[in-house]
Symmetry: C2
């Protein structure tokens, strides 16, 4: 599928637009030169600051370069293809996404390497990915954590003579998805053996963000390193280098440190997947970033910090009593997560 | 503005669609006869059950008819113009909305009476409403709770020779917007007097949903009745009948009961604004509806209850340990509010 409708008309009936009495295309809207302080836009509106975006892109590029690791920023954070392109132009190895539909959108906008950090399930989702894999330049990885899912994927892609690259997801008890123990891992490997040439085992994936302490996270990362070492020893990987991927936006430094110093004796591609570094914030991720600068030697050496690049503008619609303003943000609580957008 | 683009093409790149490899219009999608159990749609998908929607429409129509009150269901709940039309065809007096932009969308889809249950602020928002008021068949009301806002509205609409209908919002300490006490109300009335012929005072509005007990709510409703009586006595209303409006989805029965038995000695139009009765749920609003049936004489007499009409379908993508399924709902937590969508 090609992105034939990117410059489709934007109507005044769409949410969050301004001084429009008729349709415009994206390209022609820029020429209107909307100015928020002149109230040309009907608030609430979210604004991205280009300078700070570029600063954050460069910060992360330096960080991953100094660790010699790869970056596949999670695209669900923004789901904005123009930002995906900025990330790819600033050193990202690929884009991480959550669903087949997000993958289809990214592909239509030119992204040619996607790590789908989820299991691929559902007839239409498999069909979507199958259509994209017909393009030999499209490099796609998804996660597996059950033999049932592996059998479904194997049957579907074998029938279409396609090859699907998968990473085994490891998980922790009470967490999200992912293989819990070595017995389950052995069952998975057994099922994968039935689909040689159809499902290519390319590496191991973890998401450490469900754990709350550095100690727990480091133990989990060691488990991933051991599993990767064992599977490599057994010659079970179909890709060189083997992919070892982890990291949300709060602990990517610990993952970079643990995975980059691990010596598995095989060529390894460590892929980090933080998404929130690009827009950053002045709340939860500012606090997480301070933690990173305090504990990580490379982040500590770097001369600057991530900067908040997203700002929400809204009208105060009422100040019904002293110290109590009602702000029309259009969200139930925009300040809840991932942190205060406004200072 | 006319709704010239309602049948615009829907692309496979839009979220939550199914077996599409190219663009379709809304009208032609129906002919595809998608079936969820045949997995024709890429989950997650929200489904509305027409039978239950119609049942709920009829239930609410009977309720308001028996109380002799009017219904302006809050449209932000669904923001679905086809549902607005179903509500208007089943006895609704108008549609309640939260913003000028929502009002513009509703107008473009044929809605000709809107109660905007918020203050109207911001240059482009005033301009939007100004454009709509050029249509003499469009009946629009918004809330005021400060003399500053009244002065802004007065100046803007006077300059354009337009007349804006307003309701005074009363509020409670620590709650949302709204006039807190009689001194503030007096200041408001003073400012309104400067804009005779421009701003038409049409009634009083409250939102009782910020309070938590029936006793507090009844006291607040009595305050609204007293304020309405006083302003009517002073001949300050520019509309007959005077509008007295309240009620979210949890306490509309108490508002109906309190306002309908109040004898103010003037023609009164009581307007209720619940939004969630239409789709209902099996969580918070099911519990609220049981409370209503337990305490309200008319709801108790009615032979049936509201029925859940919205269902979210999603894939289980992993069962990594016994009793622990990971479901791809596309929301951080769809079950948080307004209640469990799935049983």
């Amino acid at each position: 599928m090609t992105a034939h409708n990117f410059n489709q008309a934007i109507s005044p009936l769409e949410k969050g637009l301004g001084a429009m009495t008729h349709e415009f295309t994206c390209a022609s809207i820029a020429a209107l030169k909307w100015n928020i302080l002149r109230e040309d836009v009907s608030l609430p509106v979210a604004v991205l600051y280009e300078d700070n975006l570029l600063h954050n892109l460069q910060w992360m590029q330096e960080f991953i370069t100094r660790y010699g690791v790869k970056l596949a920023p999670h695209g669900k954070t923004t789901m904005a293809p123009k930002l995906f392109q900025m990330q790819l132009q600033n050193g990202a190895w690929g884009i991480t996404l959550a669903t087949a539909q997000q993958t289809e959108v990214a592909y239509a906008h030119g992204v040619r390497r996607v790590l789908m950090a989820n299991q691929l399930v559902g007839k239409e989702n498999l069909a979507k990915i199958g259509r994209l894999l017909a393009d030999p330049t499209f490099d796609f990885y998804c996660l597996v954590d059950s033999s049932e899912n592996i059998a479904q994927l194997g049957a579907f892609f074998a029938e279409r003579s396609l090859r699907l690259s998968v990473l085994i997801e490891l998980g922790t008890k009470g967490g999200r998805a992912g293989v819990r123990d070595s017995a389950a891992l052995t069952r998975l490997i057994g099922e994968l053996a039935n689909w040689k040439g159809v499902l290519a085992l390319c590496g191991i994936e973890v998401y450490e963000g469900v754990l709350s302490t550095e100690t727990e996270i480091k133990e989990f990362l060691q488990r991933a390193i051991q599993a990767t070492t064992q599977l490599a020893h057994d010659h079970l990987f179909d890709r060189t280098p083997v992919i070892l991927s982890g990291a949300g936006s709060a602990w990517y430094d610990v993952v970079a440190e643990s995975f980059s110093i691990a010596d598995l004796g095989i060529p390894l591609e460590v892929v980090l997947r933080p998404g929130c570094y690009l827009t950053h914030d002045v709340g939860a991720y500012q606090a997480a970033h301070l933690d990173i600068q305090n504990r990580n030697p490379i982040a500590a050496q770097m001369k600057s910090s991530l900067k908040p690049a997203l700002c929400l503008w809204a009208y105060v619609q009422s100040i019904p009593e002293a110290g109590h303003a009602i702000v029309g943000t259009s969200f139930q609580n925009p300040f809840r997560n991932p942190g205060h957008l406004l200072e």
